[in-house]
Symmetry: C2
Subunit: 178 residues, 2 copies
């Protein structure tokens, strides 16, 4: 997740942690936290795995007086890893949190993979929707008023999301036909 987002962003340009977090925050801040407490450990991990490397200190230090910033850039392995994560987009990709991040990198995603992700997500949301529907239509065992209200709301919003996904999918298909 974080890994995917970082590798994706670093395709644009080499960046240091603070900047990555800032970009991530303005890109998807409404949906996820992207806290430093995850960011820096992840950078460490990526570096140890050889997916990113620290830029030589000279250029960044020279360009502007700032000190103590570590600018990272992708290695070949890093680029491969990102491509791999894209192609092998699996079930965990359709989860609430992952899906948004993947969507944000759709312009960098091959059309067929885009389709697979959208359909996977749709299936996932449909399942939740059916669960909610079943729960609500169960006329036996009376449900707490508030819980019922929560489920009503949940049903409505999952339903909306399914319709939204259908539109996105339809758009993809029409583009593909061109």
């Amino acid at each position: 997740m974080f890994e995917f987002a970082i590798l994706g962003l670093l395709h644009e340009a080499p960046m240091h942690g603070y900047e990555l977090r800032k970009r991530l925050h303005e890109l998807l801040g409404a949906f996820r936290a992207f806290s430093y407490g995850s960011l820096y450990p992840t950078l460490r991990r990526l570096q140890r795995a050889g997916l990113i490397v620290e830029e030589g200190p000279e250029e960044s230090t020279l360009s502007w007086g700032r000190r103590a910033r570590k600018v990272y850039q992708l290695t070949t392995d890093g680029k491969e890893r990102f491509a791999d994560l894209l192609v092998n987009a699996g079930p965990q990709t359709w989860d609430d949190d992952s899906f948004g991040v993947h969507l944000a990198f759709f312009s960098r995603t091959p059309a067929d993979i885009r389709m697979r992700i959208l359909e996977g997500r749709r299936r996932c949301v449909e399942e939740r929707r059916e669960g909610l529907r079943a729960r609500l239509s169960k006329t036996g065992e009376q449900i707490d008023r508030y819980t019922r209200e929560l489920h009503r709301m949940g049903l409505e919003s999952t339903d909306r999301e399914v319709r939204w996904l259908n539109e996105l999918i339809a758009h993809e298909q029409s583009e593909q036909d061109e």
Copy 2:
């Protein structure tokens, strides 16, 4: 969170882990996972903290042939702790994940606290909504089509949730007036 949910459920009756998880799952499974990997450690923690105790093995073993099940019940401290969590419902309560759980125990929640939680949640969702709105109306720097679509959807759904919360709040007030 988990702690709150468990203590809340145990107010109904003494239960063992598997049953707690089952109840939790059918109560809020559409919104959270409630995995065993969290449940059992939490039970352990609660027990060590003296908030719950294991029922003497005799009665449960006698009642039905099942073995190896640990039935927990609330202690006085446990009940106090739950009441405390209710009354001191703070900012983290309005988060996506906590809110649903709290709502599920609203029938056990004093009216004034219910109100505070609903209003806190509303404020929280409103803030997210304004963030999304600002992001979308920023005509400068063109946004990726998919990201824009994501934010449009986010805006619409936060807006709906705010309206939904307004209805709940209005209902609370009308009830209070009676």
